[in-house]
Each structure stands twice: as structure tokens, then as C-alpha cells.
């Protein structure tokens, strides 16, 4: 694998690991599979791009995160206050966000950032002449990931963070601790979607363009990374598990890069991620069914031998 390819793996791995960390919070902790992730990722990308074009690259980051919070809030309210199934709430918001995203890009499906100052171009200038020249994307995304992992670990060990984890684990217990599970679900989804928005924002600015489909399939790709990360560092404290999520994102990108080298066309990315997710989710079930299957097979075999006599 060439150096440039490896650099791309690291950059994409870092940026996407923020979405994986978002799902770590919503899917692994809160027990909600947030299907608005695709739309929210695009929302972060479009908001980040539009504000950068307007000349505020630094402001674009909190703005994208705030947009994510709003999206997460709507998803959470739909499922907690309106009685809509959590999967359906995500799909509804995801569909709505398509129009919202086009509206943010003033009716167009693309925003070009080629001549726009972004957080990456700002750092690129700073790094010129240092040994890190050319690594500006890695530096910015790396700082974002390190901060996110640290803050997320701190957050999940606060009383509120524990309550969020307990909500996904046993909502009855949360209620009997005088905590409203509706509240913890809303907070959890807002924080998770802020991270998804940040991820989208960094992706758009690092690619120097965004388009309406930038986030499509993101939820499956992130889930694949999450499941890989879970098998790597699934046991242990929150910090180790969060680090596992980042490693999972790297490993997924690495596997994908290797597959590309083996002449797999780029459009296969989503099929590969689907297969990984389906396999990873199905394996525990198949494993639990295996004794029944093997018993049945050996029984039939014995029967066949008997009848053969």
C-alpha cells in the first residue's frame, strides 16, 4: 500500500470515527439505532460548508454541531414524546433532512469549497515548513478525535452519562432512580448527533466539497466500524471501548483500501459495509443456533446409517 493511500486511510478513519463514536453513544449506550445518521452527517457537511463559504471556517464547527443537536432533538422528541418507534423516527427525520440540506445549500445539491478557507487550510498554513507539512487533515481530525474521546469518556462517567447508559440497559431501573428516561434519551441523542454533525463538517471541509449524498450509507459504514471496534476492545472501561471505536473505524478503512487495491471498484464500499454489518449482527445468533443444527445433522446421519443397514 502506498504512502498516500495510508494517509487517506488515517484521515478518513479519523473523520469517520467521530460518527462511530456518535453511534457508540446512541446505539451501544442508549440502545437506540439512530437511522437519521445519514441525513445528520450531510446536515453537518452542508452547514459546515455554507458557513465556511460565508467566511467563518472556525464558526462552521460549532454551527455544524449545533445543527446536529437540533436534528437529534427532533428525532428524540418524535420517539419519546410522540410515541413513534425509534427506527421510524430516525427514518422520518432522515427523509426530512434531505430537503433541509438542499435548502441550506440554497437549492443546489453541491457546494464547492476549492477556493474557500477551511479549518484545514488554516492549519495547513501553520504547518508549512514543519515536519508535519502535508499532514494538516490528520492533525485537525486527530485533535478533534482525541478531544471527543476524552470528553465522551468524562461525560459517560458523570451522573448524567451513567443515567444515559442505564436507560439503554434497564429503563425500569432509571425510573426507579427518579430519573426520567425521556430526558436521558433526548440528551443522549442530542450529544450523539452533535458528533455526527462534526464528523460531516470535517469530511466536507477535508474533501473541499460537499454534495447531498455525502452521508448516504454512513450509518451502515459506522455500524460496521463499531462492530469491528467492539470485537477488538469490547470489554473494559468506557475509555478503552471508545478507543476501540476509533480503531474499528481505521480497520474498516484499511480493509476497504486493501480491497480497492485488489481491483474492487469504489462503488462496492456500501455493499462491503452491508455485508460486514449483516455478518457481525447475525453471527451471535447463528452461534447460539449451532448446537441445534449440529444435533439435528448428527441425528439424521445416525438415522441414515440405521436405515442403511
Amino acid at each position: 500500500m502506498s504512502f498516500v493511500e495510508l494517509q487517506t486511510v488515517i484521515e478518513l478513519g479519523l473523520i469517520c470515527s467521530l460518527t462511530v463514536l456518535a453511534l457508540f453513544l446512541s446505539y451501544s449506550m442508549l440502545g437506540v439505532c439512530d437511522l437519521s445518521t445519514d441525513g445528520c452527517f450531510t446536515l453537518g457537511a452542508t452547514v459546515g460548508a455554507v458557513i465556511a463559504v460565508a467566511g467563518h471556517p472556525v464558526l462552521s464547527i460549532p454551527a455544524a454541531m449545533l445543527a446536529g443537536v437540533c436534528s437529534g432533538f427532533v428525532t428524540a422528541v418524535l420517539q419519546t414524546k410522540m410515541g413513534i418507534n425509534s427506527l421510524l423516527a430516525g427514518i422520518i427525520v432522515n427523509t426530512g433532512l434531505y430537503s433541509v440540506n438542499i435548502a441550506i445549500m440554497s437549492g443546489s445539491a453541491r457546494v464547492n469549497l476549492n477556493k474557500t478557507g477551511t479549518v484545514f487550510t488554516m492549519v495547513k498554513g501553520l504547518l508549512a515548513g514543519t515536519p508535519l507539512e502535508g499532514w494538516h487533515v490528520t492533525v485537525v481530525a486527530g485533535v478533534a478525535v482525541v478531544l471527543t474521546v476524552a470528553l465522551l469518556t468524562l461525560f459517560l462517567n458523570t451522573r448524567l452519562g451513567l443515567a444515559i447508559r442505564a436507560t439503554g440497559n434497564n429503563p425500569d431501573m432509571v425510573r426507579s432512580s427518579s430519573i426520567n428516561p425521556t430526558f436521558t434519551t433526548i440528551v443522549g441523542l442530542c450529544v450523539a448527533n452533535a458528533l455526527t454533525g462534526l464528523s460531516g463538517c470535517l469530511m466536507a471541509q477535508s474533501q473541499q466539497s460537499t454534495e447531498i449524498n455525502i452521508g448516504s450509507g454512513m450509518v451502515t459504514i459506522a455500524l460496521a466500524s463499531l462492530l469491528i471496534g467492539g470485537t477488538l476492545l469490547g470489554r473494559g472501561g468506557i475509555f478503552l471501548r471508545a478507543v476501540g471505536m476509533v480503531l474499528g473505524a481505521f480497520l474498516f478503512r484499511l480493509v476497504y483500501a486493501v480491497a480497492l487495491r485488489l481491483d474492487m471498484p469504489a462503488f462496492m464500499l456500501k455493499l462491503v459495509s452491508s455485508v460486514i454489518v449483516a455478518l457481525a449482527l447475525a453471527l451471535p445468533y447463528l452461534k447460539s443456533q449451532w448446537p441445534v443444527i449440529s444435533r439435528r445433522l448428527s441425528y439424521k446421519k445416525a438415522l441414515a446409517v440405521k436405515e442403511g443397514k
Partner: protein
Amino acid sequence: MLDISHISKTFNPGTVNEKKAITDLSLHLAPGDFATIIGSNGAGKSTLFNAICGDFLTDSGSIVVNSQDVTFMPSYKRSKHIGRLFQDPMRGSAPGMTIEENLVLAAGHGGWFSHMSAKDKMAFRDQLAQLDMGLEDRMKQPVGLLSGGQRQALTLLMATMNPPWLLLLDEHTAALDPATAEKVLDITKSVVAEHSITTLMVTHNMSQALELGNRTLMMDNGNIVLDVSGEERAHMTVNDLLERFKQGSGKALDNDRMLLS
């Protein structure tokens, strides 16, 4: 401490599945009362507990706990002053979280962004040591690794660490083996006595229903058909209880798990 007046609850009204679970039930518990409840299958014992805890809104009537009207209060707010244990030992704690994490949530003090302090951990350690189950050395282990009895004892600790006004025990030892059940019951008795918590306890053990606490209630068909206490209760035998139930409800007691021992 607890004042229930004329509550009713009908599930699926107007359908073939209509079930009058509670019919015009009233109950008054004085502070420090410990009442046991026995009754046939489907008599409404658990439904009564669910109504007190706010799992559903009653169709009529009012529920007052310690002079506070909780009739329309959501269950998570009521739980601040009402502790509850279920028959299923798995329901009271979060299996994927450690013992100390469960305890810090139940303790409920500190702001949203507070972290568990060393002082908290010391306090938890002492409280766990009182259970005498060796849990104080396993505070960093996930609760899912504990046995049913250990989990029920932990739940009891969580429900009473801030002594509630009212403690509801819904056959909380029924799913445990006899030795563990006795241990959990002993812990229950000492915790309730220590803080003189007003307690309601459903049991299917007839002699337990007469031995424990100071009042025995019998439920049938969504109402309380028998309420004995004081001198009368002190001299009562299991057979007397069965006889009185027959008089009160007009039929023999029918509970497939009832223990007559």
C-alpha cells in the same frame, strides 16, 4: 402514610378482553405499618402496586402518599419516595453496569455532571458489607454477573439507601432458593425496622403473611376482602385465615403457588 381512596382500574374497557382489575379499592396505612398481602391469582395485587407506583393512571379515585397527592404524578417522580422490588430479581438493576455505578445512580445525590467520589465509594462499600454477600469486593464488576439473590439484595439496598416513605415488595423472594430467600427476607426486615419504613408486601406464603409485619390484607377480585391486625391477627392460624377468606369472598382461596406451611 398511604391513603388510597376509591380507586378503580379497568383494562381494555368495552372489549371482549375487558378486565376489571381493581374495583373501588380503599386502603389506609399508618406510618410504620408493615402489611402483608395475600390473594388468589388475578386478585389485583400487582395491579394495586402498579397503580401506587404510577405505571398507569387509575380510572377514578385518588392516591395520597405522606399527605402528597400523587394521583397524576409520573412514575419516575413517585419513585423518589416509593421504593419497589419485583419478583424478577433482574428488573431492579442495570446488568451492563458495575455495582458501584448502579449504586451511585440509586443514591441520587450530586448534580448531573458530578463524578463518583472516593467518599461515595467508601459509603457503598460499608453498605454492601452489611449485606454479608461479599459484594463489597466486587464493586467494579458488572451486575449481570451476580446471582439472583445477590441482585435482589442489591436492589433492596438501592431502593432503601434513601429511606423511602413507602416500600412495595411484590413477592420479592419468590424466585430465590429457600436459603437465599430467607437471607433477603432477613435483610428486608432489618432495613424496614431500622428506618421504620411503611411497607406493603405481597407473599404467597400464608404463615409468612401472618408472621411478618403488623397487618394482613387479603385481596380478591380487585378489592381487599379481609384486613386483620392487632390481637385478632396475633391469635390467627393459617386455617382461620382460609376460613375468613371464604367468608369474605364467598369462595375458597385459589392460588396455584400458595404455600400452606
